[in-house]
Structures are given as C-alpha cells and as structure tokens.
C-alpha cells in the first residue's frame, strides 16, 4: 500500500470535517473491501478516517415498526441479532466468518459492489438510509457499479428497515470467491411486495413484474412463466447473462419459499 495518514475522530461532525480538508480522503469502516483494493492499488487514499468506533454508528435497535441498524454494525452482529430473520440470514451469508467480524453494513452500502448482499436487503425491504445530512430512500441510493447517491464526504449513520410481514433471501455463490453470482431478496412490508436482485447487474435492481405477480399470489408458482431480460445483466467467465437471467427466476422462487 502507498503511505497514507490515519485519523480516528471522536464524532460524526469531526469525521465529516476531516473529510473536507482536501487530499483524497476515504472513510474506513471494517476495511474488508477497501484495504484489499488499496493493496492492489485500485484505491490510494491520502488519509483514512476510521469511523468504525463512532458511537452514533453503533448498535441495533427496534423503533416501533422499524429496525434501526447503525452503519458500523458488523455483518456478524447483524447475523446474531438483526431482528429480521431474512436480514440476519443474509448477513450471516456474507464473505466468511473473519470478514463478517470486521465488515460493516455502512461500508458495504457505500462501496456498492455489484454483488453486495446488503444492497439486496436494503432495496428489497425498502429501507431508508440516514446520513450525516439527510435521509435517502433505498430506491434513490444505488445508482450504478460502485456508485451511490452519497455526496463527497457524506457519511451513512444508520439504516432504518421496516419490519416485514415476511421476507426471504436466496443466492448462488461463486464457489471460489463466495460472491453472489445472483441473489434475490423478496419482502412483503406494509408498503407492498418488493423483489430486489443483486450480483446480476451493475448494481442492485427491482423486478416490477415479479412484484406484481407476487402481489396477486405470494407463492413460487405465481412466478411461473416470468422471464428477465438479459440485455443489461452481467456476463463474465463465471456466468453468462442468459444463465444469470435464469438464476434470477429460480432464486426468486426460493426466496419466496424461504419467506
């Protein structure tokens, strides 16, 4: 890694102020993606601002019909105590045990890897993302590959998930890397049915036709005959776009069955 400076601020305002002081700053949460990228010199920040211990970003709490998860909650903490079974299962399926002990919800969302699991949970449940300056709806947050609605220096503080009536997540992992070749999160909340797909496109996306079908009848059989256009899907040495399109249909059915 190239040399960099390291700051561990005491509060959110101090961290955001440090980010605004020039250079190429990056927030550091668990570092499980960022440090790897820095080793490969895909990222070379001039200063890392370590926000993993900020009290405002810690903790998981129930607030009425909403589950509020601090951005620095680790995948392991969410797997052990998320309060939404499908979200706990999703969190426990990320990476491996050691990665889950360091990696965080906020880091995963800000990174927005095309195969990120948390993106599927956030979009599938229609969660809202509270930052240091505003609240961003899940539908407006994920913009593209590694691209989000976060402004420079904007920090995710916590995520509010509406408690679903039922929800499920199913994915196919690449056996070597563990990343989702495709993953589908299905949820029924007070706002209706949502279906979110990760791993298959530039970033997480919804399937309106699947949502409409499941609104009529919430069962895997209701998805029979539905197809996904493969035009915008990822194609790489692991899976063709056509295969991913097929997987989405299969995984949506499994996610419904798991709900």
């Amino acid at each position: 890694m190239f040399p960099f400076d390291y700051i561990r601020p005491a509060g959110v305002a101090e961290a955001v102020a440090a980010h605004g002081q020039g250079g190429e700053p990056r927030y550091l949460a668990g570092g499980q993606s960022l440090l790897g990228a820095m080793k490969l010199r895909l990222a070379a920040p001039s200063v890392l601002i370590d926000i993993a211990r900020l009290p405002a970003l810690r903790g998981i709490r129930r607030d009425g019909a909403v589950l509020v998860v601090g951005a620095a909650a680790t995948h392991a903490e969410m797997a052990e105590g998320a309060g939404i079974a499908a979200l706990a299962a999703l969190s426990g399926s990320i990476g491996d045990r050691q990665v889950r002990h360091m990696g965080t919800l906020g880091g995963s969302l800000a990174h927005n890897d095309p195969a990120g699991d948390h993106a599927a949970g956030v979009l599938g449940l229609g969660a809202s993302i509270r930052t240091d300056r505003r609240v961003i709806a899940a539908d407006a947050f994920f913009l593209g590959m590694f691209e989000t609605a976060l402004a420079p220096g904007e920090m995710i503080v916590e995520v509010a998930y509406p408690l679903p009536r039922r929800a499920g997540y199913a994915k196919i992992r690449n056996p070597a890397s563990g990343y989702a070749v495709a993953g589908v999160f299905v949820a029924e909340t007070a706002a209706g049915i949502r279906v979110a797909v990760t791993g298959a496109g530039a970033c997480v996306f919804r399937l309106p036709e699947f949502e409409a079908a499941l609104s009529r009848e919430f069962s895997p059989a209701a998805l029979a005959g539905l197809t996904v256009a493969e035009d915008d899907l990822n194609r790489d040495l692991h899976a063709s776009a056509a295969y991913r399109a097929h997987l989405i249909g299969v995984l949506a059915g499994r996610a419904v069955a798991a709900s």
């Binding site: 960099f4 400076d5 561990r8 601020p9 020039g22 570092g31 499980q32 990665v99 360091m102």
Partner: protein
Amino acid sequence: MIATGNRPGKPIDHSRDAHHLKEIGSGYGGYMRISLQVNGRQVDAEIEPRLLLVTPLREHLGLTGSHVGCDTGQCGACTVHLDGRAVKSCLVLAAQADGRSVLTIEGVADGATLHPVQQAFRDRHALQCGFCTPGMVMTALDLVAHLDRPDEEAIRDGLSGNLCRCTGYRPIIDAVADGIRARMGDGG
C-alpha cells in the same frame, strides 16, 4: 482525536518505505502511536498507518505463528483474535487494533499444556504440513466458543475462510466438533 502527524495536503515521505516500523520515540511525522494487548501483554509501538496488523506481530514481536499465506484475505493463515473474535490480520490495519486486545496462536497454550482445541487437532491429526494450522486453530477457537452444538454444516461454514491445501478438511472438522463437545462438557 487520534491522528498521524501528516495532515491531508502535506506531502508524504516515501523515503521511509523500506523501514516502516520503529520503536517509540522515532519522532517521524506520519507515524502514530498505538497501544494494544497482545497475548495479555501490553504493547506500545510507533507505526506507519499503512502497517497491517500481521506485520508488527511477526516482525516486531516475533510472533511468527500467524502466517501470511495469500496476503489477499482469502486463505485465513493469518487469523488472530481481535477482542475475542477471529479476523484476518492481513486485512486489518495495526491502527485498527489500537486500544484493543489481540490473541495469536502463541497465546493459546498454557505453558507446555496444549489448549483442548489444540489437543483435538493433535489427536485427530488435523494437519499435515502445518502452514494453515495456526489460522485454523484460531478460527476453531472462535467456533468452539460461539457454536452451541457440533453441527457439521455450521463448522464447515465457519471454516470457509481458512484454506488447507494438503490434509483435507475432514479431520479438522472432527477436531472442531471435539472442541465443541469438550466445551459442552460431554467429553471429546
């Protein structure tokens, strides 16, 4: 606020690249002081922020049991405990361990007496070349402490961040199950 000497915008001195770990009192800007517990012992050091946790463990403290196998966070040979939970020390900055407690394989046995999980690895012959073993044992200790029963699927999933390229996983899984049973008090 914890911070290194260089502020954003100030040029970083690349001339130190070859020697990036110094004892306290080096006086370099860009170094930071960290203080942590390693195997129960207080350690204070002045480090470059880019130092990965595994580096001071091996090169400064001589704890060479934590192996750098892949250096890309995939093989798990560098696994140590940070505040009681298994992490990959090649994917954690030493700065992130500041103020925290680290346990390496060297701190597991009680003198000449192996920890029950180490003993289970020995009894099951859960190693061949031994390179992955320290990391395997550290992850196994985490599993033994946190799994509520010796469920094979959970053990396999729990070990998925540790790669072994010679003996295979069967005896390792058996050793972890032995460890869980021993913790539960119904023997190995």
